[in-house]
């Protein structure tokens, strides 16, 4: 089972791209071994969901401010718990969550993060044109990417 987590605040314009992308993928239905979650933010309780028996991989979907590292393009990167901060503060990252998951599971969970560049994180609903274009590109990239994750027997 692949868990897709699209997170972000739908009232902060482009920050809502993660959950929207997750629902687009859910509606696509390209894989029947996928669960979609759309929390407002990542929280420690998600570690229980990810450490559950049957989960073989997780994909995080989130918007980011004009991702310069990727040159403003949609980026798909592997992510792990090695870079996690041990502190618990306002920001709980995919790495933080994966560290929890590893402690609960005993082994690392394969994980990737898909970043949708945005440039308007002000108050309100709806996306900037920049984010809309990137959302479409991210959807296409994610469809291809998901088709290449092999079906696995849970370990």
């Amino acid at each position: 089972m692949i868990v897709l987590i699209g997170y972000g605040n739908p009232l902060r314009r482009d920050d809502g791209a993660g959950p929207v992308l997750a629902r687009m993928v859910e509606a696509w239905g390209g894989r029947d071994d996928m669960t979609v979650l759309t929390p407002h933010q990542l929280v420690p309780e998600l570690a229980e969901d990810l450490a559950a028996s049957g989960v073989t991989a997780v994909v995080f979907l989130d918007a980011a401010v004009n991702d310069r590292e990727g040159g403003g393009m949609v980026a798909i990167r592997p992510v792990d718990g090695e870079q996690a901060s041990p502190l618990f503060g306002h920001h709980f990252s995919p790495g933080d969550l994966l560290q929890y998951v590893q402690l609960l599971r005993g082994t690392a969970l394969p994980a990737w993060q898909i970043t949708i560049p945005g440039n308007d994180f002000g108050y309100g609903e709806g996306f900037s044109r920049f984010a809309e274009q990137n959302l479409a590109a991210a959807f296409a990239a994610l469809q291809t990417f998901l088709c290449h994750i092999p079906r696995q027997t849970p370990g």
Partner: protein
């Protein structure tokens, strides 16, 4: 020459603070101060908004305790409308509030404080956190994470969202509870109770290792919190009670509308967090802690005469034996009080869900503006929370005063860290474990600094306006 030792930022509390410890010429601590450096200004920018928008706005003061702000706000709205909301709406709001106690106190204990309490202050700093807790106490840590999740899930079941909900409104709540949702909540309670019992047992075993801290955090003060009309533990409604250190009532029960007769707020130029004090014991004198009172779990257990649920009353009796048999004055025992309140919340949720009318669909009263002032007072997990709104005849906010839980504890937090610093800091050579003791002194209060800093005060301000490429376009300086 006097010198200063800074600990910045304080880890594992919500929000940001810095601590300054002032040394005298002999290298001994003269004073410690907690500076709150966040500035939010909710009291100002809410002016001009309709009162019924305030729950949605103040909900967003904080992501840890949005439920408390929502409840205080809707109660202020109830008062502006001049309505008594349907009885089952009161019960549903109470369940909503207790669920927040579960998640907030679980977060505080398992994620923020348990690493110190169960691993020890001198444990390797790299793993003196929840990750270390998972490694040493995997079962407890997992249960603690799940407990917080249960609190959030109960909120989500009631309100469709676990954070920043729009379910509680002036006049009541938007939708009733159905049988399926009630049963879903009930199904979570046995595991939650088992978790808190496990945590209570472990915490009580750890007390012997913290005898020094219990003593250092012990000082006299007033205590304040809501009680039921007959003096019981209360989180949603009731009367505000002040008691002295020995439990003697100072003010047995004040109606919320009169809070300004008893609570005044002072400011200091080195912190955005105000300093509320008990007005009859004024004037304000920070050095002498005039009018200092504590709120929150420790205070609520001190001000009440009983809890009213079986297991909680047993634990309340055990808790009181740690003090003089009536009150406990060491802030170290906030942690124990927090777990007792989780227990209380679970017992009360179970009781309330079994009441006959809990599925009734009459959950909202309708009315317009009938009063030009509304005060909503609740007990947030961290302490007494007051939303005080003035409106015009169209219901538009003309004035807002918010006194949030952490603010009430400001004098006490500063007193606590001064006591700790005096014991563990000598000169400018400070060990890591000692630094964490100062931070822990703040963490014992589980402060929520995002909530606390919302007012336009007299703080010197430097404002810079920056262009998108980082150039300073204009600069304002107010001394």
């Amino acid at each position: 020459m006097a010198t200063m030792v800074r600990i910045e930022p304080v880890t594992r509390i919500e929000g940001h603070a810095k601590v300054s410890i002032y040394l005298d010429d002999a290298g001994e601590v003269s004073e410690a101060r907690m500076h709150v450096v966040e500035f939010r200004a909710f009291e100002k920018f809410c002016v001009g908004r309709p009162f019924y928008e305030m729950p949605g706005i103040t909900n967003r003061i904080c992501g840890i305790c949005p439920t408390s702000h929502a409840l205080a706000s809707v109660k202020a709205g109830d008062a502006i409308m001049g309505v008594a909301i349907p009885p089952v709406a009161v019960k549903l709001r109470r369940i909503f509030n207790w669920a927040q106690y579960i998640q907030s106190h679980a977060l505080s204990f398992f994620h923020l404080s348990a690493p110190d309490l169960l691993l020890g202050f001198d444990h390797d700093p790299a793993t003196r956190n929840v990750m270390g807790l998972i490694q040493h106490y995997p079962d407890l840590a997992r249960k603690g994470v799940r407990l917080r999740g249960m609190g959030q899930e109960i909120i989500r079941i009631l309100a469709d969202k676990s954070i920043h909900q729009a379910w509680a409104v002036p006049g009541g709540v938007r939708q009733p509870l159905n049988g399926e949702k009630r049963d879903a909540i009930k199904a979570m309670l046995p595991e939650a109770l088992e978790t808190v019992e496990c945590a209570l047992a472990l915490l009580k075993k750890s007390f012997a290792g913290f005898a020094d801290e219990v003593e250092i955090y012990d000082f006299p003060s007033l205590f304040a919190g809501l009680v039921t009309p007959d003096g019981g533990l209360e989180h949603y409604d009731g009367l505000l009670r002040f008691v002295a250190s020995d439990g003697t009532p100072v003010e047995a029960g004040i109606a919320g509308e009169r809070y300004r007769d008893y609570i005044e707020e002072a400011s200091e130029d080195w912190s955005y967090l105000k300093f509320p004090f008990f007005k009859p014991h004024g004037p304000y004198n920070r050095g002498e802690c005039a009018g200092m009172y504590r709120v929150g779990p420790l205070a609520r257990l001190n001000v009440c005469d009983f809890a009213g649920t079986p297991r909680t009353d047993e634990e309340l009796a055990a808790f009181r034996r740690l003090g003089n048999g009536r009150t406990v004055t060491s802030s170290f025992h906030y942690h124990y009080a927090r777990l007792i309140e989780i227990l209380f919340s679970l017992e009360k949720i179970a009781q309330t869900l079994d009441e006959e009318d809990i599925l009734d669909d009459w959950v909202r009263a309708e009315a317009g503006v009938n009063r030009l002032k509304g005060i909503g007072m609740v007990e947030a997990p961290r302490g007494t929370l007051i939303h005080d709104y003035s409106v015009d005849r169209n219901g538009i906010i003309t004035d807002v005063n918010l006194i949030v839980s952490t603010g009430h504890n400001n004098l006490a937090m500063n007193r606590t860290i001064t006591n700790i610093a005096k014991k563990y800091v000598h000169g400018d050579s400070v060990k890591e474990g000692m630094l964490n003791r100062v931070e822990h002194g703040i963490r014992a209060y589980d402060p929520c600094l995002s909530c606390s800093t919302h007012a336009v005060g007299r703080m010197p301000l430097e404002i810079r306006i920056l262009s998108p490429d980082g150039r300073v376009v204009k600069e304002f300086l107010r001394e």
